[in-house]
C-alpha cells in the first residue's frame, strides 16, 4: 500500500516537474480561482462590518423640556429599559450635551463664539435609545408617542435617523444580493476555467492513459497521479493566495482603518488565518480533484 502510494506521489511530482510550463499555468489558474474566492469573502466581511457599524450609530433621541428634573428623566429611563425591544438607554445631561456639541464644533469658531455670547446652555437633556434590531425602532416610537411622559418632551429626533436606517437596510440588502451574484459568477467562471485547464492537461496525456489501460493498470492506478497533481495544485495555489492576501492586508489595512475606524479587517484576517487557509485549501483542492476526476472519466472507459 505504502509502495503504491509512494509511486503515485512520485509519478505525479515527476509529471509536474517535467511538464513545468503546463503545471505553472494550471497553478496560476487555480490560484486566481482561490484568490477570487477568498477576496470575495474578505470584501463581504468588510461590507457587513461597515453596515453593522453604521447601524450601531443609529438611535432615537428624546429631548426633555429644560424644567424636567433629573429624577423624572431617570424614571423614564428605567421605564424604557424595561421594554424588550430596547438594548440601551443613555442619559445625556445638559452639561454633557454642551460638551459633546463643543467637541463636534471645535473647528467652527463662529458657532463656538455664538454659544459664549448666549451665556446660557441652550441644549436640552435627552435620552439616547438604541434598539435591539432595526425593526424595533418603529415600535419604540409608537410606545413613546402614547407614553405618559410624552408631554414632558420637547422633541423626538428619529425621522432623520429613520431615513438613514431605511437607506442602510436597502443598501445592505442590495450589497448582499450583488455580492452573492458576483461571487457566484466569479467563482463559477474560475471553476470553469480551472476545469478546462486541467481537462487540457489530461487531454495531452490521453494516449498515455490508453496505453496504461492496455498494459492492465487498474483505474485507481492511472487516476492516482492526476488526482495527486490536482491536490498539489490546490495546496500550492492556496499557499500563494495566503502570501498575496497577507501582504495586501498588511499594506492596505492601516489606510482603510484611517478612513473607516473600527472596521478591523486586519484583526479579522489574522484571527481567522488558519480557518481561511483551510477553507480555501479545501476549495482549491476540491476543484482540482473534481476537475481531474471528471476530465479523466471518458479516457478510462475502454
Amino acid at each position: 500500500m505504502f509502495l503504491s502510494f509512494r509511486r503515485l506521489f512520485k509519478a505525479s511530482w515527476q509529471s509536474i516537474i517535467r511538464n513545468w510550463w503546463l503545471s505553472l499555468a494550471t497553478i496560476l489558474v487555480v490560484f486566481l480561482s482561490v484568490l477570487t474566492f477568498t477576496g470575495i469573502r474578505l470584501f463581504s466581511y468588510s461590507v457587513n462590518r461597515l453596515v453593522v457599524m453604521l447601524q450601531e450609530r443609529v438611535d432615537i433621541s428624546i429631548y426633555f423640556k429644560k424644567d424636567v428634573p433629573e429624577s423624572e428623566i431617570f424614571q423614564v429611563q428605567m421605564e424604557l429599559e424595561g421594554l424588550d425591544q430596547i438594548k440601551t438607554v443613555k442619559y445625556i445631561s445638559q452639561d454633557d450635551a454642551l460638551k459633546l456639541f463643543q467637541d463636534k464644533q471645535k473647528y467652527n469658531p463662529a458657532i463656538f463664539k455664538a454659544i459664549e455670547v448666549l451665556g446660557t446652555n441652550p441644549l436640552s437633556p435627552s435620552l439616547s435609545i438604541k434598539a435591539k434590531t432595526d425593526k424595533d425602532y418603529q415600535s419604540i416610537l409608537d410606545y413613546i408617542s402614547q407614553a405618559g411622559f410624552k408631554d414632558r418632551l420637547v422633541t423626538v429626533n428619529y425621522e432623520e435617523n429613520q431615513r438613514v436606517v431605511q437607506k442602510l437596510d436597502i443598501v445592505n440588502r442590495t450589497i448582499n444580493i450583488v455580492a452573492i451574484s458576483i461571487s457566484v459568477l466569479l467563482v463559477g467562471i474560475a471553476v470553469l476555467i480551472n476545469f478546462n485547464t486541467i481537462r487540457l492537461a489530461i487531454y495531452t496525456s490521453k494516449e498515455e492513459i490508453r496505453a496504461m489501460k492496455l498494459v492492465g493498470a487498474p483505474n485507481w492506478f492511472i487516476r492516482g497521479p492526476f488526482l495527486f497533481e490536482g491536490t498539489i495544485y490546490g495546496v500550492v495555489a492556496s499557499i500563494l493566495t495566503m502570501i498575496v492576501i497577507s501582504l495586501l492586508v498588511f499594506a492596505i489595512s492601516p489606510k482603510i482603518e484611517t478612513s473607516i475606524p473600527g472596521l478591523g479587517l486586519a484583526g479579522y484576517y489574522w484571527a481567522h488565518f488558519i480557518w481561511i487557509f483551510l477553507f480555501q485549501t479545501v476549495f482549491g483542492v476540491g476543484i482540482g480533484l473534481a476537475s481531474s476526476f471528471v476530465a479523466m472519466k471518458k479516457y478510462l472507459e475502454t
Binding site: 509502495l3 503504491s4 494516449e207 490508453r210 492496455l214 498494459v215 475502454t302
Partner: protein
Amino acid sequence: MTSLISFKDISKAYNNNLVLDSIDFSVEAGEFVSLVGKSGVGKTTLLKLIIAEEQPSSGKVIFDGQEVNKLKGSQLSLIRRRVGTVFQDFKLFADRTVFENVAFPLEVLNQPDDIITDHVGEVLKLVGLESQRDQLPICLSAGEKQRAAIARALIHGPDIIIADEPTGNLDPINTWDIIKLLLKINELGTAIILTSHNKDVINKIGKRVISLENGKVIRDELNGQYII
C-alpha cells in the same frame, strides 16, 4: 488442451460495414503467428479484440478459457497483464525515461524496487537499450523507441505479445532487428501475434501465416508465405 487464444465465429461491423466475417482460429502457447492482409482488412481489429479494446458484433474471444468480451474492470485488467502490446506508433509515456516506461507494468503489479531495477536492467540488455535507460523517448530514434516498447511489453513475462505493425515506421535495417528480437523472445517461450504488410519480412520469418481478405481468413498455413 486449451488454446491460449481462440476466435470463435467472430464478426465485427462498424456502421453496418462488416470488417470481420465469421473468423475462426486459435493460437497456442509459445506459437509465432503472422497476420497478413491489405490495409483495412481487420488485422488491428482482431488484435484489439484480444485485449477487449473493441467488442465483437458476434462470436467469442477466449483467452486461456475465459471469454474476454464478457470481462469487466479488474478481471479485464488481469487478462491485459498477461498480454504485452506493441504499437506501430510506440505509445511510450513521453514524460518518463526508458527505464520508467519499461518499469511501468511491474509497478502496476506492485513489485518491489530492487526486483524492478534488476529485471528492467536484464530486459534493456536483451533489447540493447542499456545505455539509453535514462533518456526520455523524445531523445530516441524510431528503432530505439520500438525496442523500448517491446521491452515494456515483455517486462512482466506475458503469455503473449501482440505487435501491431511494429515495423511500420522503421527503415529496413531496424525492421529486421525488431523482427529478430521478436523471434528471440518467441524462442524464450512467449507467443507472438504479429501484423505486417511487409511481404519480405513475413516470408523470411517462416512461421505460421494467417491471411485475411474481405474480413475472412483465406489461408492459414504453418511455415506459410505472404501471397498477394
